[in-house]
Amino acid sequence: MSPKKKSTNFTTAFEELEQITAWFDSEESLDLDEGLKKFERGLLIADQLKKKLEEVQNTVQEIKLKFQDI
């Protein structure tokens, strides 16, 4: 049994995007430099996620369980 691939971690990336969006809402007047940095980071994440979404395949692996005689 191989461990799950952690490299993708769609969940972490998606959550980061949500955090960035929330940051933009939280500040009344934000620092423009930081704002631009975060915006760029957001676009980068979105691009990565978009690529992940284009991945079409799921893999199905059958586990043969050995059943003892009851």
Binding site: P3, L32, A46, L49, K50, I63
Partner: protein, 420 residues
């Protein structure tokens, strides 16, 4: 009668008795009986009858009478609670398997039951209701204990029969919606004798995996069917396995109107196998849309802030009469970077950006100069009022192209006669 005759009658009586019988004790006799009973091939048939006088003593010993529905005949039955795998009660028709025995201590003939099965739809339904009530009372159906399943699962454990339509439906819908998922599939019988042990085995297997290896969610599913078909999904031990699973469980049985105990115990109840796929993975299109919305939103907020900043600078210009070169440069470069980034993402440039452009243009003093105006400065400060001027003051005049220095000859139409 003479003593001689009496004794000879006695002798012949005794002689008459002894050739027929050997004397055995009661326990020896019962042993003989039990040995004979053991010759009956008890495992080859079941006895069917109706339960009455069902009791459990000391939470261990189960006893009931099995009544013949036609003749007046009862069979006294006995078993232990851990042998009793189904919920039974008085009035229920059942089939039992076991071996008959005479219990020496009380001289009672009893059936030592090894298996009990309710028969007929009515009996099944009653057994189902009993288990359902029991589990409900133990808190198995509580909403509060149900766990949420991860939004973007990476690994899914699928427990179903590969011959079932459920399998195909689940996989197909999942493939349509999402990608990159690792499905671990354990083929099990979803009805029949093998179903319960195989399903339990699958649950044990998945739960025994390490945290890195185990699936993020388990899916237990099958098509619809009658009470007898769904027996495995109404089985108490299977329901307990679902409840005790450390991995959250999605259960989907047949169609909307089919219900099973596993449905109630599971963390998520899906109405069909296809619906199970919908609950387990998100839809690509929806996630893409959500991401676009988020990006549009951040862009819009950023635009607002840049606009705010720019307007602030505009106001500052009006107040202080100049705009610091560096602020102007900054806004321009910010806007350039912003536009550059934005154009790489399929988002529409909207009216706000256009108005931003307009404001920037307004701020650019050189455009005003281009129309023929000039900026007059005294001591570095932009001049707006003539009242501060004195005749003879030196002023610096900036034109659209070039500049010059001048001396004030007159103010507000009045010039002083200078004696040369």
């Amino acid at each position: 009668m003479g003593s001689g005759l009496r004794s000879s009658i006695l002798k012949s009586t005794i002689e008459g008795l002894t050739p027929f019988m050997h004397s055995v004790s009661v326990s020896q006799f019962l042993l003989l009986v039990n040995e004979s009973l053991r010759l009956i091939p008890s495992q080859d048939f079941v006895v069917e009858g109706e339960i009455s006088d069902f009791r459990i003593a000391q939470e261990k010993w189960v006893s009931f009478d099995l009544k013949d529905e036609k003749e007046e005949a009862i069979l006294k039955c006995f078993m232990t609670t851990w042998q009793l795998k189904v919920a039974i009660e008085d009035g229920m028709r059942v089939q039992i398997k076991g071996y008959p025995k005479v219990y020496e201590r009380y001289g009672q003939f009893k059936m030592n039951v090894t298996e009990v099965e309710p028969v007929g739809e009515g009996a099944l339904r009653r057994a189902y209701e009993l288990v359902k009530k029991k589990l409900e009372q133990e808190g198995f159906f509580e909403e509060t204990r149900k766990r949420t399943i991860p939004r973007f699962p990476e690994r899914v454990g699928l427990i179903t029969s590969r011959d079932a339509a459920a399998y195909g439906d689940f996989i197909r819908v999942m493939n349509n919606r999402w990608g990159g998922v690792d499905v671990l599939f354990t083929h099990v019988h979803v009805q029949g004798r093998e179903a319960v042990p195989e399903i339990l085995h699958a649950f044990s297997f998945f739960n025994a995996l390490s945290v890195e290896e185990r699936p993020d969610v388990l899916v237990l599913t099958r098509g619809g069917g009658g009470l007898e078909d769904l027996h495995a999904f109404n089985d108490e031990s299977v329901a307990r396995a679902v409840f005790g699973s450390v991995i959250p469980v999605v259960c989907a049985v047949g169609h909307e109107r089919d219900e099973s105990l596993c449905d109630f115990v599971a963390d998520v109840r899906a109405s069909t196998p296809s619906n199970a796929a919908e609950r387990v993975v998100p839809n690509r299109q929806e996630i893409l849309y959500e991401m676009q919305t988020m990006t549009r939103h951040t862009q819009s907020r950023l635009q607002d802030h840049i606009e705010q900043y720019t307007l602030l600078m505009h106001r500052a210009t009006q107040l202080f009469g100049f705009i610091l070169e560096r602020h102007q440069t900054r806004i321009k470069s910010l806007f350039q970077i912003f536009l550059q980034r934005v154009s790489s993402w399929p988002v529409l440039i909207n009216e706000k950006v256009k108005s931003l452009e307009r404001v920037l243009r307004q701020l650019d003093p050189t455009r005003i100069l281009g129309r023929g105006y000039s900026i007059v400065r005294v001591g570095g400060k932009i001049l707006k009022q003539s009242s501060t001027l004195e005749i003879g003051s030196r002023v610096h005049v900036q034109l659209s192209a070039g500049s010059f220095d001048a001396e004030v000859a007159g103010v507000d139409g009045k010039s002083q006669q200078r004696l040369v």
